[in-house]
Symmetry: C2
Subunit: 240 residues, 2 copies
DNA sequence: GAGCATTTGTCCGTATGTATT
DNA sequence: CAATACATACGGACAAATGCT
């Protein structure tokens, strides 16, 4: 058996203790860990950084280190393209905060995907999403203007965009196309995620259509923190 | 504008220099960086670790730090379930090394997915995959026995399993189901990937069927190093 | 708002261990 | 075996963000 470094041993002990604690619980400070295991603060720090790398904790400068939990976020054609529902299915509590609602002109790929003329206007909704109170995602969502002229009032009354589209527009959104990748966020995205712009994050690009008519109803780009969600993409063929 | 830490500044300078260099090129050692920027080795080390976090370099103890490149590995129902072809489409050079070929009894989910009776035998092929000479993945692949009794000889003659199935079995494999996630590898997998078992890696589970008959022809679990591939999953609905 | 203690972030210098060449 | 390079570790210091008084 390979000999382990001291900080890795400490990390394993802490990881086992963390496993029994609820999300959000406070983890010992670096000073306390150093004193408890009789090591320097550098070694204690390395152990906590190890836990951060395993996505077991989140650290906040000046505040402390806290137990983290990821939820399984499953993307599939069989499932509704709804963040609120997907999170609830995984046992989490979703919440969204509107950052901005405005009208923008659709260009290029975005216009094509929504099947709107180049330069036509659409709603742009920018939101942060939280899971169990922790910041998880930052999303831009485009919706054709004629589908719902008064989006602003609606999104403040009902958090789930899927519900709004179903109840106010009479459509049944289904995920028609989706692309998931994992790369560095732009500085703007990093701000929205309160994340370092040098750490990779999930990018989920998605197009929803009305399940009955096939009409495009929503296009979105969602960036998601890897420490909040374990993204799972299920791709289904014509069989099964 | 936020003030940057010294190591982040150094990392940015090095990142810009690395961008012009070919994959595999040697990066200055920590000592050289410390001397060049007049900082301690700890700060130089932090800068190089930053680059490692951005997946721009790979570090080998005792050997040095080297420029890394990722390729886009695109998973989609429209594309053949072939590692060799997917890598070549992204501009890389694929290679596979057989670690083990043996017969195993199919159990549970695996048997169900291949539509074989519980406990029936199948080939198990264990391979490492390399991209441009760098270790990229470690895979277990299960193939029904009756499809190709002499798998052992075939995989040593032809590297691409997709080609073998097409040419020797007369099937046209298509990706019928696939699940992609990102989590910590088991110790066994970490060994196969020559990776730390405390760093998350990709897990791609896949089922291939014959495009003509719909018969299951291959089931696989592939673990892939995030520093070798940028996994992209495309999900297509009935419209498009 | 100001002040203070706590906590993580960064950095210095030094030393030793371990893997590769 | 020797030189090189990364890995771990010690102890100390100050900066920056947070939370409370």
């Amino acid at each position: 058996m390979a000999k382990k470094s001291r900080y890795a041993e400490i990390a394993d002990v802490l990881a086992a203790e963390i496993a029994d604690q609820p999300a959000g619980a406070r983890v010992s400070s670096e000073h306390e860990i150093a004193a408890r295991f009789a090591v320097s603060r550098a070694a204690a720090r390395a152990a906590v950084q190890e836990l951060e790398g395993r996505l077991l904790v989140r650290r906040v400068r000046g505040a402390g280190t806290f137990v983290n939990r990821r939820i399984d976020y499953v993307l599939s054609q069989r499932k509704a393209p709804s963040m609120h529902q997907t999170v609830r299915e995984a046992g989490g509590t979703p919440r969204t905060v509107v950052c901005d609602v405005r009208r923008v002109a659709l260009r290029g790929e975005l216009a094509a995907r929504l099947e709107q003329p180049e330069g036509s206007e659409a709603h742009l909704l920018v939101r942060q999403s939280y899971i169990d109170g922790l910041l998880s995602g930052w999303a831009q969502e485009w919706i054709p203007l004629d589908l719902l002229p008064e989006l602003d009032a609606a999104v403040h009354a009902v958090e789930s965009l899927d519900s709004i589209l179903r109840q106010m527009c009479g459509v049944s959104p289904v995920r028609a196309w989706c692309r998931v990748s994992y790369s560095l966020p732009t500085p703007e995205v990093a701000v929205g995620l309160e994340s370092d712009h040098t750490r990779p994050v999930w990018l989920i690009e998605s197009l929803s259509r009305d399940g009955d008519t096939g009409r495009p109803v929503m296009c979105s780009s969602t960036w998601s923190r890897p420490d909040s969600t374990r993204i799972i993409v299920e791709l289904d063929g014509p069989w099964k």
